[in-house]
Symmetry: D2
Subunit: 285 residues, 4 copies
């Protein structure tokens, strides 16, 4: 695998941005592997993802951010992130009792499909504790009631900070996080909702889907915002169903879509291929 | 093609219904080609579609309904319909200015894909009038304002009755029909809505889809009820989209889904493969 | 869950079969829950699946097969199988080193998604042995070389017989079974092939797909016959890919399709919804 | 709509290409709207599509190609094409008797969905002649037999040249074009094949699909090469089918996929979003 760096940039559109950025890469001996740039002409917003070979790059990894900021980003008032292909994002899985998404993620982790580290699982139940014993993951049982919510969320945040968590994945976690909590992890919490949003937000979407007699069911993975089930959508997919499908059948079929859609969203995030602005995502290819 | 009859039955479930019905077919020398039966165990509702070869059937076509009613249906308090494979449903197309679904249907008609007759088109605009001239279809221009609605709907109903219309297809018809009108054509009006319902009901769903940043768009074909965009769903499908897609792109991509989904719904209806109860459809295979 | 029996029938088409079968069910106080019947008019072949409530059925379960044979099946020269909703099929998983399908199946098993028993895993490698320790499954390491093939297959057959295996699932098992072996388990061995057959049979289909520059990849689950990758297809699905996808990406994306398609095929089989004739399957809904 | 230019570049990868190209655009006051760049690291091949606003560009449209060649392309030994957003590709439709793809394309043309000009239709049959009369399209009836092939292809080429045709679309055209013909229109002939290639090449794929008992059917649109049904694939899609589907049903369902897939491929081509190398396509988003 190539040793590469990735930069994701968003700013107001102006002439010369791409030339400036690629000139910078070139000047310091970087070799561009991939570049995707897109101007939202309605909003006049410039968005770009650029990956370059850093094997001969003349700036040390730890100085790339600061150098780029000074030489390029400040001139264009850019928001930007720099990542590295050998970076290993640290993920915390949040789970309640439902195991299908959770186990699916663990298997991808265990098999090495993803280049990530999962140091902790947070759960308000003990049911799934045993499953992570052999994987070097610490399972934190943090039950939450309306009375203890504030205090328990503080406890969770301590755990996340201690473990330098980069991404939180709600794998059918049945608690609603507070705005305070969410604001500390903006665009760093991925949820899976078991419907094709905006249809059937909230609880029991498969029951509602059955009632409505829809011919497709779906799943939606999105970044969590304070507005329930209304955050920026990362991935969605659907499955065809029929009148033959009882609610139980919808739930069973839905599990497979949930697993796949959540995994796709995480894949995009951990490969630094997502960018959020105006409550919408740009998903690079 | 076989000369066959189709019966569609719905009633409260009781033991012996299938045996009674198939015994009836057998007794009069019918030969069953296809039988799909499904009990909604939650509702204890029996639903069945049966097609049989009538080439040697001992009851004349025009007497099948009455004989079946007397000998079988009345015993089980059935609702049922009898159709024939050589039956040619008469369809009225309702259209405004948007042509894509309308033309798609005309081409299927013209090419003989469907065994139907389209005697009339009803429109509140004149734009598409020329397109049906060579097809033996009468184009009725019936403009509707809030003041003239009741009277114009009466006019439309006269046209439909004069032409013995069996099915009304709203091919992106931009008028909302009155409850009075709809009640006269229960489960006989098919609409195409340009979203995956129940998401984005009402006007401008592609604009809403863009705003929400969804990763799929869809279309839904349903029977029209007095409750707007809430009738029994016949067919749905979706297309994947991305942040690259402007509203105009969503509209362009959506047209193809709308055409396909509407055509699939009509296909099921004209082949007598739909059954409605409790605002849900059973779509036979 | 209802206590029910399922009968699957195939025979030459004749008038009166459905009436005879449903009359039989009715006569002995069975109540039909589901009936799907289909005549292949080209081949004049009658196919049917019927499920009925046996809570008040007057024939004991163990006598249903014999009674039906005598009273009905023999008159129509039927091939038929009788199953029960509380039947628990016994599955043997065959696996080599690739774990994704294998683990996916184990999770479905462990979570109770499927009403089956998996007493044994057969493998020509030891890599996955540890994974089944806690699940009450016996892992049989049976390495096969061209020299030992006949003898080792005999050993495997002994294991299968000892465990009363009903279904063999090849979860990316990298050995080709002999015709002798296959013939003993006709329509009882399900394989997953990692392409949309008949495209890319044989080894390394993702490499071939990459070479050909296809825009979709797929997976096919089929019953194994002596003719490699040419058995009756049970389920297929695809995923869209692009020029961006390297062979490694195709392999990664393909794993999810393989898992889903294999699981769908097994689901149909263990719910007694498959019927094979003329190297084609009928998959009941 | 913006007044823009599009450049598509392919060459051996070297450092500094993107910087050189975007520097060129910037230097002459162009403003980049979209840039997609992708290095095939296996082949070390650089591929890029760049679109820029030319409203203030300091080079006249007719000089862009030459100036870019001299200042940039020659240094990197690039193959490249320059197009303009207001360019109107001229398309020739080739058709035999089957009308579904042909009519679908005509409707898209007529409704203004595509910014193209279709001056001519070429056909070896007269059946569809009437359909283009009102559209300002000249229908050329050019029957071909094995004896007249060479001469008739010459006649066709004359027609194409007289009409300055940029793209040939084979809308289920039932003739095989000679290598000589194809070589004159390299990557400028789009065909629709009615299967998911490489499965079922050649004639009667739906019949073969039925025989094989597949659970999906598909369509493939590709550039035509001398190697039958083996050219670079532009677009593919599929539809699920079942044992219920007769060959006639497969043909009927297939028509809709063929129409959609062909239209998608043409859309990509006329928006200058395709690039061919090594018998594979890059399809820009």
């Amino acid at each position: 695998m190539l040793d590469s760096a990735i930069i994701i940039i968003t700013c107001s559109d102006k002439p010369g941005i791409v030339a400036a950025v690629t000139g910078f890469i070139n000047e310091y001996n970087g070799s561009i592997i991939n570049l995707e740039q897109h101007v939202d002409t309605q909003q006049s917003q410039f968005n770009m993802r650029l990956e370059w070979d850093i094997s001969k790059f003349k700036i040390d990894n730890e100085n790339i951010h600061a150098t780029f900021k000074k030489e390029i980003a400040d001139n264009f008032d850019m928001s930007f992130e720099v990542h590295f292909s050998n970076e290993i994002p640290k993920i915390a899985l949040f789970v309640s009792k439902l195991s299908h998404c959770f186990y699916d993620l663990l298997l991808r982790y265990q098999s090495g499909e993803w280049q990530v580290k999962i140091p902790v699982v947070i759960s308000n139940h003990r049911e799934l504790e045993k499953s992570v014993q052999d994987l070097g993951i610490t399972y934190h049982y943090v039950p939450i009631t309306s009375d203890t919510k504030q205090q328990q969320e503080q406890k969770i945040i301590s755990i996340l900070q201690d473990n330098h968590i980069d991404l939180i994945v709600l794998a059918r976690y049945m608690q609603i996080l507070s705005s305070d909590f969410i604001n500390q992890y903006e665009n760093k919490i991925i949820n899976i909702h078991h419907s094709f949003l905006p249809a059937f937000p909230g609880a029991k979407p498969y029951h509602s889907a059955y009632e409505r007699g829809v011919k497709i069911i779906g799943a939606t993975s999105h970044y969590v915002t304070a507005d329930l089930d209304a955050g920026p959508i990362i991935a969605q997919d659907i499955e065809h169903v029929s009148h033959n499908d009882t609610v139980e059948e919808l739930i069973r079929k839905g599990r497979d879509i949930e697993k796949i859609v959540l995994a796709r969203a995480i894949w995009k995030h951990i490969n630094f291929k997502t960018l959020v602005y105006n409550n919408r995502t740009i998903i690079f290819t």
